[in-house]
């Protein structure tokens, strides 16, 4: 529940100044560049026209891009459901050692840089990859049996790798909250186990499943690195198309801009469509009891061993690619078999210029860290000021403006900044700054989403007390609000850092000689099939990202445990489900979409509070306000 609007006690000027800062930043770094994209896509000789858009749409290749984008997203969503639903079931139903760990691991793919996954797929599923070599050795085959790579299925499987755990997490948390009494009632009324499942449990889970499908579909529509690295020339998505037109293939900025507008429209249209289908479901649930678990290993039910038929292939899909990356980073391929080596790590620690990654490997590592740090710092400042503005001024329009970058895919942000850095004022900045700005725009909405629920839960009397004790609004923020939001801010920062480290889409648009980050360097290494160097850098990248993600998780739970029922907070903000929070944070921020998110949030209710307290569309009624003030 969103708090009622705060009184604008700071005099108007201070509030306006506060709103001006993010507006100015977004104006220069986002809206103006985006305007350039619009003009390029919709203007011919200074005249507004749909010509370019129509020309693009009538190009069979572009139509192919759109069709393929939708096709692979749909398949990816279905496969993610197929892989993820059993896992969600498994996690809900059974007790076994390592259950908590397994659950925690479902978060891992989310912070894993996608280029490392692509690399892992090449190494693991290639015709001469680990899996095929293993199977050929085991069964004495002459031909590699697994032919996934270089097909559409490589893209789909990699997307499922990412999103099945998300689905599992959604299903698991919805199922745990489904009241077991309902199933027991059905059984008592004579329904068999299967019937009870089909008529009671499944309908209860349906909204969650639909929400998860919608989310995965949108994520896969906007996916870039995986189709770029795994799709080859034949399986390109619209996002990849924007990149190809802007940077590689025919160097046509107008066509890139037209495609960018298409991808924008596509993602929004699809989201609305899903909303229309998925938003109508809304089943209230939430019993007092949670579903009971049963031990996985039991002498009476040897049939449960059948789970291995699912678990083993799943483990191969999830662990194989990552294992392959780590293993190959320590192996030197030699004719008689591979030998352990640190050669690749020495190579990526080299400060010498490498023409194939247009940078030195060490500089790429350094740039990644600096860009991550810079983007994190800027995103925190921007995220905090946007949160502050949106708390003071409750306006849909302002919120839409201030959160607009959320609705724009990374490749479009990249294109916009690529164009913006041609002219002043941004052209005065170095190439790294383009990436820093792009990453800031990509990550700050998540910072806002992480901080606002916390901030809304903070007892407003605390900063007020500071004010009456003589603190200016800013001093009150600095000495009271900020320290209390502290670990939330830290967590948001760590997450922003992890996101920036792994981000490759905008970097692909903006990198250049000497301006190179780790994921893009991995992509270049992959392109020149320097697997050892790619693996070593990917391992470093994964380790750094994991560290940041771990810090994110720690900061969140530390905060919870340190303050118990947190002092200073009127209620427990729901920070215990970071995956869902982050996952739904990917959804574009439109009024209608907000409704969908609310459906998602309803499903995710855990502590009796919605995840997105900030997006609750019902304004606090005057009566509420009255009660609060006098309560």
């Amino acid at each position: 529940m969103a708090g009622p609007p705060r009184q604008l006690t700071g005099r108007g000027a201070a509030g306006a100044a506060l709103a001006l800062l993010p507006l100015l930043f977004l104006g220069v770094a986002f809206f103006w560049p985006l305007w350039d994209v619009l003009r390029l896509g919709l203007q011919v000789d200074g005249r507004w026209t749909g010509e370019r858009l129509l020309a693009a749409l009538s190009d069979p290749y572009v139509r192919r891009l759109i069709l393929f984008t939708v096709e692979q997203a749909a398949l990816s969503a279905l496969l993610s459901l197929g892989l993820g639903f059993p896992l969600g079931w498994f996690l809900t139903r059974y007790r076994f050692p390592g259950r908590g760990l397994l659950r925690a691991f479902t978060i891992v793919p989310f912070v894993l840089p996608s280029i490392t996954v692509a690399l892992g797929f090449v190494l693991f599923f290639g015709r001469s990859g680990h899996l095929n070599r293993l199977l050929m050795g085991l069964f004495g085959l002459g031909e590699p049996p697994i032919r996934v790579l270089y097909t559409l299925w490589a893209v789909v499987l990699a997307h499922a790798f990412y999103n099945a755990p998300v689905v599992a997490r959604f299903v698991n948390s919805a199922w745990e909250r489904a009241d077991p009494t309902l199933v027991e009632a059905a059984r008592a009324l004579g329904a068999g186990r299967f019937r009870a499942f089909a008529t009671v449990t499944l309908p209860l889970l349906l909204p969650t499943v639909l929400s998860a499908l919608a989310l995965v579909f949108v994520l896969c529509t906007l996916s870039f690195s995986i189709p770029l690295a795994l799709g080859g020339a034949r399986y390109a998505t619209v996002e990849v198309g924007v990149y190809l037109y802007a940077r590689g293939v025919v160097a046509s900025f107008p066509r890139a801009a037209a495609l960018a507008l298409l991808t924008l429209g596509l993602s929004l249209a699809l989201t609305y469509l899903h909303l229309w289908g998925g938003g109508t479901f809304s089943a209230r649930q939430g019993g007092v009891r949670t579903a009971p678990t049963v031990p996985l290993l039991s002498r009476e039910r040897p049939g449960r061993a059948l789970w291995l038929l699912y678990l083993i292939p799943a483990a191969i899909v999830f662990l194989g690619p990552i294992g392959a990356v780590v293993a190959d980073s320590f192996l030197h391929p030699a004719p008689g078999g591979a030998a352990p080596t640190l050669h690749w790590y020495r190579m990526i620690a080299s400060p010498a210029w490498n023409p194939f990654i247009e940078s030195s490997p060490l500089a790429a590592v350094r740039t990644s860290l600096l860009v991550g740090g810079g983007a994190t710092g800027l995103a925190l400042v921007l995220g905090l000021s946007v949160s502050a503005v949106l708390r003071r001024v409750r306006s849909r329009i302002l919120e839409t403006i201030l959160m607009a970058p959320l609705a724009v895919s990374s490749v479009v942000v990249g294109l916009a900044l690529l164009l913006a850095f041609r002219r002043s004022p941004l052209s005065a900045l170095g190439g790294e700054w383009a990436i820093v700005l792009a990453h800031t725009l990509i990550v700050y909405p998540f910072v806002v989403r992480a901080i606002r629920p916390l901030w809304d839960a903070l007892d407003p009397a605390l900063p007020e007390a500071a004010r009456t004790l003589g603190a200016s609004p800013f001093a009150a923020f600095r000495t009271v609000t900020l320290p209390l939001l502290g670990s939330g801010v830290l967590a948001a920062g760590a997450f922003a850092f992890a996101l920036s480290l792994g981000e490759m889409t905008a970097v692909a648009m903006l990198s250049g000689p000497g301006v190179m980050t780790m994921p893009m360097a991995i992509y270049h290494f992959l392109g020149s099939r320097d697997f050892g160097a790619a693996s070593a850098m990917a391992t470093v990248l994964m380790a750094t990202t994991a560290l940041a993600a771990w810090a994110w998780d720690r900061a969140g739970s530390r905060w919870l445990s340190r303050t118990g029922a947190p002092a200073g907070f009127r209620r427990l903000p729901d920070s215990a489900e970071p995956v869902e929070r982050v996952a739904s944070g990917f959804m574009p921020n439109h009024t209608a979409v907000r409704r969908l998110r609310k459906v998602v949030a309803d499903r995710l209710r855990r502590y009796g509070e919605p995840i997105h307290s900030t997006t609750d569309p019902v304004p606090a009624s005057a009566a509420d306000k009255h009660r609060r003030t006098h309560g």
Binding site: V371, F421, G430
Partner: protein, 338 residues
């Protein structure tokens, strides 16, 4: 706050990675990986102390050229010289005004380049090597499956066994597209449609295609007619078979040009003269695995013996490609979905 300023300062510092004292060459990945790039760099930097020669080669030549065109249109490029342009992409490069004309008087070694290799009469691009595009088979491909004609490439037994390159991003890929156009005329797209099922993948550049071929991902790759010589000279066995199709192979002349916006045309001319020098040209056959353009450089005997020269070299000149290329590329793109 102080830390933030420090960070800003650090970021600003790294942006000067490409500084004034550097001479930047955009090249194809294959040239820097295989060719005499380091020898050129040594010779160049010895002749011009204080200048750092920087190779930028993260992609295939055609992709690098497109990138250069994109960068020039945004007014921001670091490139002083481009290496790897072929007859296929030359018309586009000239139309986009990528290159400035060179001054033959500043390139003494130009005198040793035969006239028939000078593919650009407009005086912007100079050749530095030449060769032939052909299919190369690994021993994994059974003798009776070796394709000898375009029709053989369509045999169902070859399903998923061929690696091609993308004509939009790779000069070899473009060469193959032009080859099929030269061979089939208007029917080229029919051939391509029939060929698609036999492709394992279409890579963005030749380097990854050849690396995949060498790793055993597929037994047949579009590559150079010198690969048998390469295999024999480096590994001691002629394990790769070079296959002309219907006696044809596509002729490829690789050229280089001075980027319009360079501030150091003097260094650019000096660079070209070094590339055309007999010392560097002598390295071309056994590093770049192409034929040198210097008329007085002798070929190594093994190279001369094993490098395949086709009965019927196929070649579309820049004049024949010119305005049709865009249309061909978009038709080719449209085929991908079929």
């Amino acid at each position: 706050m102080k830390r933030f300023i420090g960070l800003v300062a650090a970021l600003t510092l790294t942006t000067s990675a490409v500084a004034a004292e550097q001479f930047v060459v955009y090249a194809s990945r294959s040239f820097v990986r295989w060719g005499p790039a380091s020898a050129i760099e040594r010779a160049f930097e010895a002749a011009h102390p204080g200048v750092d020669l920087v190779w930028v080669a993260p992609a295939g030549a055609a992709e690098m050229l497109s990138r250069l065109i994109a960068e020039l249109s945004t007014g921001r490029t670091d490139a002083d010289l481009f290496l790897g342009v072929t007859a296929g992409s030359l018309p586009r490069a000239l139309a986009e005004g990528v290159f400035r004309p060179f001054d033959p008087d500043l390139i003494p070694n130009l005198a040793f380049v035969p006239d028939d290799l000078r593919v650009d009469p407009s005086g912007h691009v100079l050749p530095f090597d030449h060769g032939y595009i052909a299919f190369v088979a690994s021993p994994a491909l059974a003798e009776d499956l070796l394709p000898r004609s375009f029709a053989d490439l369509l045999r169902p037994e070859l399903r998923g066994k061929i690696i091609l390159q993308d004509p939009r991003t790779s000069e070899t890929g473009l060469a193959f597209l032009l080859w099929t156009i030269a061979h089939f005329g208007e029917d080229w797209s029919e051939f391509w449609r029939a060929l698609l099922p036999n492709l394992l993948t279409i890579t963005r550049g030749w380097t990854e295609a050849f690396a995949m071929f060498e790793a055993g991902e597929a037994p047949l790759v579009l590559s150079y007619s010198t690969d048998a010589a390469y295999a024999y000279i480096t590994a001691g066995e002629a394990k790769y078979r070079v296959l002309t199709l219907d006696g044809e192979a596509y002729r490829l002349v690789e050229g280089l040009g001075i980027v319009r916006t360079t501030r150091r045309p003097d260094l650019a001319h000096a660079f070209i003269d070094i590339v055309l020098s007999p010392e560097i040209q002598a390295l071309i056959p056994t590093s770049q695995w192409m034929f040198p353009v210097h008329s007085e450089v002798e070929l190594p005997p093994d190279f001369a013996r094993l490098a395949v020269v086709p009965e019927h070299p196929v070649f579309l000149g820049p004049g024949e490609v010119a305005e049709l290329l865009d249309d061909w590329i978009s038709r080719w793109q449209a085929l991908l979905g079929s």
